[in-house]
């Protein structure tokens, strides 16, 4: 039994990956980060918020994210992060560019939420930070499978633990019509001037649709990791996940900045091999 598990473990990670897939992963991760970065004006300026807004952030927490430098230095590092991501996208000195980008993303990402929480997930930087670091761990001339596999595993955990957290926190009450209806009403009432004109409101008026959405959402979240083990399932689960995020944005006003990273599961090597030369 132990031997079988060890063999499965090795099979899952071992082997070589196409250079096209590794390059695509690097470009996708850096692009995803750069898109959010270029959409956040001067994040280091948040260090200049009134001290009352920082009073809940302990020195240990600042040390944890290495946020102990003067704002001027932070701004220079922020500029450097833009440059390192561009260099990573361009493929020049990819290992160094990925390492610098990953470390700087680890440093700056928490600023987005730190006055409230040290856990800035679902803001677009988590998977790029980890992914770029993982890609930097391997010499550029080598193409093992495990780095991309590991990034894919981390991406799948978004769905797996999103589903798990619902059930472990709320139990089956999460999947009830009332719960989905309440989320639809609350989020649309908060974020729309005229919530009655929103699609979310229309869905909230249809209990069968609310129930279907609850179960379909949980099904996608728990089924998504199958893309790791059954490549053919990607034909269904990748479009389903994209539709899931689009529906979340339209109905619940919840936006997922890392949707582009679904393309990490496309076999770019096979596509480029099929392309006529």
């Amino acid at each position: 039994m132990a031997d079988a598990l060890a063999a499965s473990w090795s099979r899952f990670w071992a082997g070589t990956e196409s250079r096209a897939n590794l390059s695509a992963a690097r470009v996708l991760l850096a692009l995803a980060a750069l898109w959010v970065l270029l959409s956040r004006f001067d994040l280091p300026s948040l260090l200049n918020l009134p001290p009352e807004m920082w009073q809940g952030v302990t020195f240990a927490r600042r040390v944890r994210f290495l946020l102990v430098l003067p704002v001027l230095v932070e701004r220079l590092l922020y500029a450097l992060l833009h440059v390192s991501l561009l260099v990573a996208i361009g493929g020049w000195m990819p290992r160094l560019a990925c390492l610098a980008s990953g470390l700087l993303l680890y440093h700056f990402a928490p600023l987005e939420a730190l006055i409230r929480t040290p856990n800035p997930y679902l803001r677009g930087f988590t998977i790029p930070a980890l992914g770029l670091l993982i890609l930097s761990f391997v010499p550029s001339q080598e193409t093992p499978r495990w780095p991309l596999r590991l990034v894919q595993v981390l991406f799948c955990q978004i769905y797996l633990f999103a589903g798990y957290s619902k059930l472990v926190t709320s139990g089956m009450a999460w999947a009830t019509v009332d719960n989905i209806r309440n989320y639809l009403l609350i989020l649309n009432q908060i974020f729309f001037d005229r919530p009655e004109a929103s699609l979310g409101y229309w869905v909230a008026a249809h209990p069968a649709l609310c129930a279907a959405m609850a179960w379909a959402g949980l099904a996608i979240e728990f089924a998504f990791p199958a893309v790791l083990f059954f490549p053919r399932s990607r034909w269904v689960l990748l479009p389903a996940a994209f539709f899931f995020h689009a529906a979340n944005a339209v109905l619940f006003r919840i936006f997922f900045q890392s949707a582009i990273l679904l393309l990490l599961f496309v076999d770019w090597g096979a596509i480029s091999a099929r392309r006529p030369r």
Partner: protein, 217 residues
């Protein structure tokens, strides 16, 4: 688990440093992983165990995180907030939360709803001044035909939104005063989502912050 540990406030800094340690160990194992399959296995085992632990316990160690999202059973009770600016004539206007960028409205709102009532007067004044300056800068941008927030500085309308997608408070020039804001208020709003849906649009509101009034000049 997290709830059990909350009374142990001294543990928070230790936990933060331990999480930094977990990240540094990830970097160390990653640095070694390029040497061969055996070293790579250590990294893969470590990341797999750590992320599973974080996910199962639902206790963050960012960048290894729990990925919880709208996981609570939602009550029908809504609590939210609004910024209100006032011009020199005493006319009041809703302020578009985008003026706070790069601070995300959802982060500011969560912070403010909990912390504003607990701040001493001097702290409230400082936060009030910050909000007033941000609102005024946003008003000027809007009057100049630009977006009230600054996040579109490079990508314009293609800029990545925040996690929650708020509507735009300011839609036309009439939504802001010609002259500067001289005072700002932070209101807490509450209502029942189900009753609101059925047509009862009553909301209760309470004032959590009112900045000192500035001279218009």
């Amino acid at each position: 688990m997290t709830g059990l540990l909350q009374p142990l406030t001294w543990l928070a800094p230790v936990a933060d440093l331990a999480k930094l340690g977990a990240f540094l160990l990830f970097l160390f194992l990653g640095w070694r992983a390029g040497r061969g399959p055996r070293e790579a296995s250590w990294l893969l085992g470590y990341v797999s165990c750590l992320t599973m632990l974080v996910g199962v316990l639902q206790h963050e160690a960012w960048p290894f995180t729990n990925w919880a999202l709208v996981h609570h059973a939602a009550a029908s009770h809504v609590v939210t907030w609004d910024l209100e600016g006032e011009d020199a004539q005493g006319v009041r206007y809703r302020v578009d939360p985008a003026v706070l960028q790069p601070l995300a409205p959802e982060e500011f709102g969560s912070w403010a709803l909990y912390n504003l009532p607990r701040l001493p007067p001097a702290g409230r004044d400082r936060v009030g001044r910050f909000l007033l300056e941000a609102a005024e800068a946003g008003r000027k941008r809007w009057q100049e035909g630009r977006a009230p927030g600054r996040n579109g500085w490079v990508l314009g309308p293609l800029a990545a939104p925040y996690h929650f997608l708020p509507g735009h408070e300011w839609k036309s020039p009439a939504d802001v005063p010609q002259g500067p804001f001289v005072r700002i208020r932070f209101w807490r709003f509450e209502w029942d989502a189900g009753a609101y849906f059925e047509g009862d649009h009553r909301k209760s509101r309470s004032l959590l912050l009112e900045s000192p009034k500035l001279r218009a000049d």
